[in-house]
């Protein structure tokens, strides 16, 4: 039997690997992303293509009925669009307004990865070739999922709202209350929540109120659903309240996303907010 206890050569190998790992951990973000991008574009490329096919197979198998139903509803709504567009154009002409900015987008599949940090960043199947750029907002069918951090030729890395660095300006549908939404943890819940902070004490937000992106800062367009208020988290008497928010989208459960490519626009009407 071969001697399998750690020899000097084994110790050397593990020390080198640990040193390389520590070096990678300490490397600048640009270098880290460069290495990761190279690996995704070479060794992992066939496996990611395989994963994308498997994702498509599952989507086509399990979601056919739901997608058909959604398509029928949208088809009914779309019948009214032509008349509305014509009316809108006429009114814009009367007011001498320019044409409305279009919302360019690209659809992508989420390629979920294993590991305990899987819900913080996501890999999606659209990249530079599809027109995706860093800082592009990423939407799931029910609301905001996150933002693009880096872009490969055919894949992009998305920071989900669960990431500690995530922040978005938020507002209620009537525009009466504004605040900042960030990830939060509540001890009695296994799934992550959002927290709305920066709300003045005299402005109370009712439980169940929908929160939308406010559009400040020019990253997220105005009007994307973030979630619904669950209740008060903390109170600083006479100063401010923070609220727990039930997110509209759980990143771990997202399978299909839309990446916005165009300039920031108002998406109030897309999601029917405030109705």
């Amino acid at each position: 039997m071969v001697e399998r206890f750690a020899s000097r050569r084994d110790t050397f190998a593990v020390v080198v690997c640990l040193a390389l790992s520590l070096g990678a951990r300490a490397a600048p973000d640009g270098l880290q992303e460069g290495i990761a991008s190279s690996v995704r574009g070479s060794v992992l490329a066939p496996f990611l293509a395989l994963q994308q096919q498997a994702e498509l197979f599952r989507t086509s198998r399990t979601r056919y009925v739901a997608v058909t139903s959604e398509r029928d509803s949208l088809a009914l709504s779309a019948m009214l669009v032509a008349a509305l567009r014509e009316e809108n154009d006429r009114l814009r002409d009367i007011l001498s307004l320019s044409r409305r900015v279009g919302t360019a987008h690209v659809a992508a599949d989420v390629l979920h990865q294993s590991g305990p940090l899987g819900g913080l960043v996501l890999l999606i199947s659209a990249g530079r070739a599809q027109g995706v750029r860093p800082l592009a907002p990423v939407l799931a069918p029910l609301g905001l999922l996150g933002i693009v951090r880096s872009v490969d030729e055919h894949h992009s890395v998305v920071i989900a709202w669960t990431h500690p660095d995530f922040r978005a300006s938020a507002m209620t549908p009537d525009g009466a209350v504004f605040g900042i939404v960030e990830p939060a943890a509540r001890g009695d819940r296994a799934t992550p929540l959002l927290r709305l902070s920066g709300v003045p004490y005299q402005q109370e937000v009712a439980t169940g109120t929908l929160l939308l992106t406010a559009g400040f800062g020019g990253v997220y367009p105005r009007g994307i659903p973030l979630g619904r208020v669950l209740g008060v988290a903390t109170e600083q008497a006479g100063w401010e309240r923070t609220y727990y928010v039930q997110p509209a989208v759980q990143p771990a459960q997202a399978s299909h996303v839309i990446v916005l490519l165009g300039a920031a626009v108002n998406l109030d009407t897309v999601f029917g907010a405030g109705q």
């Binding site: 190998a13 990678a24 991008s37 990611l48 197979f57 990865q113 294993s114 940090l117």
Partner: protein, 168 residues
Amino acid sequence: MIGPKPTGRRFAVVLLLLVILHFTVRPLYPERFLVLAPDFLLLALLLYAIRARPGSAAVAGFFVGLLSDSLRPLAFGSGMLAHTFVGFLAAWGKAVFFAENLSVTLAFLFAGSVGRDVLVLLWGGHLRGATLGWQVFLWTPLNALVTAIAGAIVLILFQRWIPTRLAS
């Protein structure tokens, strides 16, 4: 059960199969049960570590970590560190304890999976407070259990191809 001596080529086929399963089986899981999808990459590493020298297992762990970090470039390097440690300790541990029993191997796979996750979480430092607690005490053990069970199934199905002798 004592299996015949496996060849390296057959074992390599099993490892390649596990890598392919990692990218084809996980997407078939419904979204809400993704946390229960086994980690076949880690499983391949641990099965390799059972037969490899600690140094080789550490190098294999480093490359599995590199793949893992490239797929999820958050806390880049923490996956390499964690997988290197797990690979090395798994190979060293198998040499020390030399367990060929199925239940011990299950425990070995479970511990390897939990160890990997805890190391990634500690070095990554992205989860804190209650979120970290739920991850370490609920999701990680659940995922480790599923990975260990998947490993047991692989060991039973490919017992003639994998260099472990499972005592019933």
